[in-house]
Symmetry: D2
Subunit: 352 residues, 4 copies
């Protein structure tokens, strides 16, 4: 079977990672990436990837900067089966018509609204319902982590009510010289924050409320959950439910992984590209269960967590791999996703 031909529009935090992940898939071919920037981001991309210009002005600027431009966005689309749009928040909606005109299937990201595609995607939760669709939206990093973790507990019949406090990183490292926050925290101006309802676009029956704030750091979100369980449960019950789900990995304070930066450094030590962590990192020794209440703390590497979901979404739209587990396994093996960072990699089959 010929590989799925994929283009990526928007070469930012997510787009560049999606491009790399597409390159790593045995069943995909990266047609190219398109953007409107013409600076170091594109110049470095052009050293290794086919670059297209999303606008005429961008094309000129890229060429003026010495970048070899392969063509326009439309020319890239003409060669694609699926386009992944990772342009900034709310820009993608305006691109939909261009994609429809080109007859390509579309994967959007979590900055767009659910209504734009009518389908929101997290692989472990609803891959099947995306199979063969024209488009879907991979939900945001925070929402993806919520669906993975709360979904796992729900699958195990344990989840009653979930109340979470989400402390978000303030800005991404690459743009932390602009628009950051310094020596402060910034609470979201409304409670509940939008992540709860957003998770319900994937799992409508979740009873979830989130309170969010920005913290004065640039990498990874942290979620603190108080969970009302459906019954008195043991700590092992909760751990087993989490172990049964993909893309959740345990870390332990007792291993010295005691802060966000510890885990981030571990990813660098593991040789991950860009130091990425695609897994939700749940602190195993902070999982606490008392009666019918559980407390969970986990870390979300916001720059990368949606990348495997995006790869699965590409496959689902093409209907080339109808089975969720097959796609998840393919993605996870190609990227090197793990269940425990400090144990030798395990065969994948033990997932649910």
């Amino acid at each position: 079977m010929h590989p799925i031909r994929v283009g990526v529009n928007g070469y930012g935090v997510i787009g560049k990672r999606v491009a790399d992940a597409v390159l790593a898939q045995p069943d995909m071919h990266l047609v190219g990436i398109a953007d409107i920037a013409a600076d170091w981001r594109i110049k470095s991309a052009a050293l290794r990837l086919p670059v297209f210009a999303a606008t005429d002005a961008a094309r000129q600027a890229m060429q003026d900067g010495g970048v070899h431009v392969r063509g326009s966005l439309e020319e890239m689309l003409a060669d694609c089966e699926v386009i992944v749009d990772t342009t900034p928040k709310h820009i993608a909606a305006g691109n939909i018509e261009r994609y429809r005109a080109a007859g390509v299937k579309v994967v959007l990201q979590g900055g767009e609204s659910h209504a734009t595609t009518g389908h929101s995607f997290v692989a472990q939760a609803n891959y099947a319902s995306a199979v063969g669709r024209d488009s879907t939206r991979v939900v945001s990093c925070n929402t993806t982590s919520i669906v993975r973790v709360l979904g796992a507990l729900d699958d195990a019949g344990l989840l009653g009510r979930a109340r979470g406090v989400l402390i978000r990183r303030a800005t991404d490292p690459w743009e932390s010289h602009l628009g950051g926050i310094m020596n402060t925290m910034v609470p979201e101006p409304t409670i509940p924050s939008h992540q709860g309802p957003d998770a319900q676009t994937v799992l409508p029956d979740l009873d979830v409320v989130t309170i969010a704030a920005k913290g004065a750091h640039t990498q990874t979100h942290t979620h603190f959950w108080t969970l009302q369980l459906t019954r008195q449960a043991s700590r092992e019950d909760v751990l087993a439910a989490l172990r049964a789900a993909p893309r959740i990995a345990f870390v332990r304070m007792s291993d010295g992984l005691v802060a966000l930066n510890s885990t981030i450094e571990l990813m660098r030590d593991l040789g991950r590209p860009r130091g990425d962590m695609w897994e939700v990192a749940v602190w195993e020794d902070l999982v606490t269960v008392t009666g019918d209440e559980a407390y969970l703390t986990y870390q979300v590497y916001n720059e990368a967590i949606v990348v495997p979901e995006t790869i699965d979404a590409i496959r689902a739209l093409t209907a080339r791999v109808p089975d969720a587990h097959a796609s998840i396994r393919l993605t996870d093996e190609s990227l090197g996703i793990r269940q425990d960072f400090l144990l030798p990699a395990q065969p994948h089959g033990h997932h649910g």
Copy 2:
């Protein structure tokens, strides 16, 4: 009646503020402050306060630095009726014998254990039980805020179960060149964190669980609460309960007070000494009530919040002012404590 003669041992973040607050009380006299440091902290104190040396070595170092030393700690104690010990965590316990020997009453701070004095103090909750005692412990900044806020809801018969996430400042500004955290968060290594049980030393019947972490900022803690109420309630019910308690002030996102640093700047603009905020600052427009659940977010100025409690604790021990409300009113008026920072000061009598 002659004023209460007070000494302060430990001229750090809390001690220097307590000294200033004692100076502001109409019924107290500051005998002096004692410390073991001999650097800028003591040199600047000596420009305006009587300085005593807590050890012989400190006395020598102070004198070498040109500080006029009034005497030893024992000499200070000999002139005191009450000593406030604000030495670093767990040091005070070792000082107790010196205080007993001097026959002075003792106010400890929240770094010490409840067992050291057998009594833990928050003015609005248990002033009466401290009246005439030999010693008490003013609980920590986080715990003080919890008792003020949850206590207020409990007094109104509204509080069922309280689950809170506490994001603490990482270090205080004066020592932020040492031992800080950078671009990360550090979760407490156990759940529940100690603040819940600590609040129960004052209000034993609270059903409270806290999860804590350090954030990458130097000023003020933030608490995010999910509250199970005892009944379906209105938002106004919750606000009214908070308004009835002292030392809680509302701030509003709609006034542009949208982040920790906004409130901190407001305190500077209000002319507060050192920019202190003694009140718990509850975001009024983040108070959200849905059915029998309420969500609360507030800010705790950790450097100053225990100062009014410490002043009340001094009065309670001496039994000079047997009534809690009378002491609270005296303290609050002398410091300029408010219920709303952006409205003209109101007459105090409307407190419960």
Copy 3:
């Protein structure tokens, strides 16, 4: 003699401090402050100051927010002899016509260009040339500090060539939830940076080059200088030159003042309003002289350092106090400006 009637247009970082400083002068009267904001900044100002609205829209918004508005900017101007414009960078130039129409004298701030007024002001350097003028510009915080320090060395005949590296705070605390930098530094995109030429608007003969960058902190700039002296000199020669100038204060590492935050905390301990430091804080024990080279490091409290200069500029324009030293002395005594923060205040007369 009736007091000088002063208005302040722009109630931001500088404006609010200028308003307070005007209130502290025995020979000035604050007519009021004007602004276009209507949030907590103005609501708190209105608790203690006469507030005017700089635009009709602002007036409406202020009144909607419950602020008692005294009138329009024009109404305020009608009552003023001098207006201090502290509006954001480059806004003041557009206000000049309004001020001229009202017949008031004008003090601008360093964000404006020298050309707008044709005169740039630092009290110790060129007070006399501002006496009786219609307008002047108080230079920026960095430039003010440069003129004070290099000017002092120049007055002593010591200064040859000055090469400085200026590490600026990234943003002010009150707006540090917006537009800050995180975990990075941002060099100015050109060398030399503008501060050298700006200092030459006051002292045209300075041989000065500056290189600037933003650091990841919110309070105070730091300047590191390499100075070519006119001759072999002793460390004492340099110290004596600095001691002879006003508004320079020594701090010492040996007193434990080892970092920016140490000095900032000291200002809080000294009871300074808003923790302000009007003086340039030169690290005395970092003053190093080797042959004909000297190295200097000092700290500039950017929020406050131009306040005394602004007060002097007001006086100079009115020609009420023709003598620079008389005005400086009046300003410094009213604010409590010092030459050494850890020694008892000295009589002022020993200044040059």
Copy 4:
């Protein structure tokens, strides 16, 4: 020829990078790494590297944690020809006897004093003098960058007097939850700082003075230089001198590389292991020359810059590659070191 057998004692920031770089050399074999830690750092190392225990206690702790320990430090040394000691500052000196006893050659790092080995090393400056020695010391990250850059200008006959301000990162990312600085800067307590004399251990004739301070960020140092040239020179003269030296790469503000974090992100985008930058990144468009003065700003990726020097030092000690350029070329090609990050890689031969 059999490969050089190398061991690394100390698996920290430098040690883990040296181990990876040794693995990348065609003429070297990594015997293993030794450490005293037993936490995530060693557990992750053990997934891919032979791990030895530097002490018996460490061996026990490692084994208790499930780490497969290959043996003791002595057992590792018995199999090594060269040991690279990257233990914390001043520990290595105490290890020297163990290394001598084992008959291995020793490469120390810049935390140790020059006297410990009697030879300090920067490849481009003095490779030849290290050939065949028993030991050498690779100088620190700051010093390495100074020797590379000032050495290049000196080689071109341009360098007179160099005066630099060095703003250091406060702590490394992996330990930024401990001992960091927050919202402040910390000047070194003496001027000159030690880096100038340290550079003279390699290039004794440099006329260099440095002033240093810590900034509130965790990655990369920045150096700001004012250089007195030996003659009136053009900007192109300076650029040419820098281009002629290895391990200096130009970056440009005009490419959008405007802050430390921009360059750091570029390294991630280039697929560098751990995002490392081995080159000194000189801002080309900040190179400014006026008459006989030049101003330079560059960025030093402190976690990685000494790695190529360490590899060269290993080769020099063994005398296997007597020629500096040959070793530098081998190292640079194996790591992928570049002269310009945004241009296609050039053939190496154009180096001096």
